[in-house]
Amino acid sequence: MTATETLKHLYLHREMRAKELKEEGLKVVGYFCCLVPEEIFSAFGLVPFRLQGSQRDVIDRADAYIEPMACPFARSCFNRALKGEYDFLDAFVAPHSCDTIDRIYSIWFHNHPADFNHLLNVPHMRERGAVDFFRAELAYLIKGLEEWTGRPINEEKLRSAIHLSNRKRNLLRELYEMRKHNPPPVSGAEVMEVMVAGMGLPVAEYVELLERYLEEVRWRKVGGPPEPRLFIWGNEIDDSAFIQLIEESGAMVVMDDLCTGSRSFWHEVPETADPLMDIAQRYLSIPCPRSNFTLTGNRKQDLENRFGYIGEFVEAWKVDGAIFYIIRYCDTCELEGPDLRDYLKEKGIPVLMLEDDYSLVTIGQLRTRIQAFLEMIGEVV
């Protein structure tokens, strides 16, 4: 199998590799969001498995445990747990990333606990003491894992894990760099699948696959008529269907700021004398809307502080338009969206802001709006 085929296979059978490794005697840790450092799990020799929902299945069991006005992604993940689809997890770690994930930790813990369960408190602020606090929280998680696994870890193991994850980040950035080409050698949907494929296997295996995959992509011949180049912003997209819908409508998704996309790997962990501090710093600097940037200067400067990196993305990737995919009931994204729209409009980037229920049924209904948006861009481009 080529690496491209293997990644596709892993995307379609997301739990397969983690289950195989469990059969071989390894332990699997399920965790939410990109705010939980995978390096810590790697250092313990645990298989990190980023929890995913299913946009294809209806949420049919979770209603007895969690309100419908909660994030449908989180509800879907728990629905899968209730159906036994996450029974292969040995540990469950949730960050206090947002109100719903915080609440779902308790619901999960009481109704479908793993052998080891942990809530990681992630500060919302980034200044004064936040990194020290987060470092202490990570040390507390490590202590819990040491007790649970019966194995201590040392700084050397953490350093190797950081090094490995940084290698992964480098490779993914290389992949994203290729998307600067016009047309890019990989579609947005394929990139999404490659990202999701890497969420359920040891980092070392993913690194090896990515190295081979990038070689394969390098030899691809691409061509075709020019199409509008789009940037996607939002939260959890772990199915390629939405991106596919956009690309079938006549556009290319060339860049993103999603917690399953660039947000999850863009910045490296610095490699200094205090690896835990390095991890704390890096993860707190992830630009998730749930984290706060203290206001400095006027409105214009504030938007630049918060979204400057997106400004760089749209410029470097020559983006013609942006689509926001906001999962309904995500308060932080709902509050961030209009600000980011203002910022991008100022840069001349048209924005389509969509709110959705994290379901293929509802995604299909977005087709007309996407087509109208692309027509509008097409007239401008």
Binding site: H110, R128, F133, D302
Partner: protein, 433 residues
């Protein structure tokens, strides 16, 4: 249900003291306007952020933006603000407090002044905004977003609490240290904004007043274990104004002293909220339906009284160790102790600190039924209610019900549905009695 249709009634015997609250609410916004005229600093602020006494000690006049949203709903004047925020791009499922606040700010900017006939004179433009991560995420994101309409300095702090499963001995020091640093950051910000240094004696004074108000409020609630209930939930949703919007002031302490005396008198003389108290209810959680507070009277028309609530007074008084001599450290300790006061009990029993509190309330207040209010736009107080109901059900067999609407957005409310649900709930209470 009974043969005849139950109708709206007014509260039969609420407290007289609670009626003073209306004037105190008006005073919040009047004082803010006056302060602006006098050149004093005025701040948008979030209640229960544990920083109230600091704000008071710095003589910054607070404008509680969430309260303003509730006020608009109580006066049924919220639609123009909600719709304005939605027109500006905010989702219809976003926190409706935030939508009202943002819509109000948007309109004020557009009109160049307070929107016409805004409830209680409206909110003046603040000199600063003070957000926090206490309770929910929108409480700092909202003020960040409000930067679209207000060019004022904004500062938010983290307010942290460990999960029940954490070993408190192991996490306490770094939680308190971080909380203290967060408060110190706020103090520095306020010092820059006001141009004056924090007076620690003055801070001790406001802390003493804040603690005393909350102790009295706790004592009042303890009096409410009496049968018949001396004070209804409608009063609770009024009198919380003193504890939250006047925390750290003499006014709050004096108010609760007066209320304490009245409630005590009612208890001693057996004066209940309604003539015949058949069912004693616990308001299990969720923000109240500010748009339809008469619904509590509707319950009373069936002989059902809400005797205690699990919202707004979320913690009992705590004892900060005497070695803590610094007021900022004191506030950090107090926050930690407040948030963790039921952790150890919960660990031994239900594993959930709020469930633990509810179980205690059910026992102490001789509760016959529990009602939750789910708000479509409030994740923080809504998500987890079903879970709590499920956990409670493992320890008690009292009937429980979840009503669904929103704290301020009337579009999420259906009177017919509520009446049908309440009717069935009353039947369940009847069947048990």
């Amino acid at each position: 249900m009974g043969e005849k249709d139950q109708i709206k009634t007014t509260a039969v015997k609420g407290t007289q003291t609670a009626r003073l609250i209306r004037e105190m609410v008006k005073n919040i916004y009047r004082s803010a306007h006056e302060a602006k005229e006098q050149g004093k600093k005025v701040a948008y602020f979030m209640v229960a952020s544990q920083y109230d006494e600091i704000v008071r000690a710095m003589d910054v006049v607070p404008i509680p933006t969430e309260n303003y949203a509730g006020l608009c709903a109580a006066k049924r004047d919220m639609d123009r603000f909600l719709l304005k925020a939605e027109e500006d791009g905010y989702s219809q499922v976003l926190c409706s407090y935030a939508r009202i606040g943002l819509g109000f700010d948007s309109l004020r900017k557009e009109l160049g002044g307070i929107p016409e006939n805004a409830p209680d004179g409206g909110m003046p433009e603040p000199d600063m905004m003070l957000g926090s991560s206490a309770v929910c995420d929108p409480r700092f994101k909202w003020y960040q977003a409000a930067g679209r309409y207000l060019n004022v300095p904004t500062y938010s702090i983290d307010v942290v609490a460990p999960p029940v499963q954490a070993e408190l001995k192991e996490v306490r020091d770094y939680y308190i240290r971080y909380q203290e640093e967060q408060f110190r950051g706020l103090v520095e910000f306020l010092e820059r904004q006001t141009g004056k240094k924090l007076d620690e004696d003055r801070l001790w004074e406001t802390i003493k007043l804040g603690d005393e108000a909350w102790r009295l409020w706790y004592e009042i609630d303890r009096l409410r274990v009496a049968v018949p209930s001396p004070m209804p939930a409608q009063d609770h949703f009024s009198i919380m104004v003193a504890g939250h919007y006047y925390c750290g002031t003499e006014m709050a302490v004096n108010f609760y002293k007066q209320l304490y005396e009245e409630v005590k008198y009612k208890v001693e003389n057996g004066l209940g909220v309604i003539p015949e108290e058949k069912y004693r209810l616990l308001y299990g959680g969720g923000l109240p339906p500010w748009h339809t507070l008469w619904i509590f009277n509707y319950f009373e028309s069936f002989g059902a009284v809400f005797v205690i609530e699990n919202v707004y007074r979320g913690y009992d008084p705590v004892e900060v160790p005497s070695h803590v001599r610094d007021p900022i450290k004191y506030l950090a300790w107090r926050a930690f102790l407040r948030f963790t006061q039921r952790h150890e009990e919960a660990k031994k029993n239900s594993g959930h600190q709020v469930v633990e509190r509810l179980l205690k309330l059910i026992r102490d207040y001789k509760i016959d039924g529990v009602v939750f209010h789910a708000c479509r736009s409030c994740r923080a107080t809504t998500v987890g209610q079903i879970h709590m109901k499920n956990l409670l059900g493992r320890y008690t067999d009292v009937p429980m019900m979840q009503l669904v609407s929103d704290m301020v957005d009337l579009r999420d409310y259906s009177e017919a549905q509520w009446k049908a649900q309440i009717g069935a709930f009353i039947d369940a209470l009847k069947a048990r009695s």
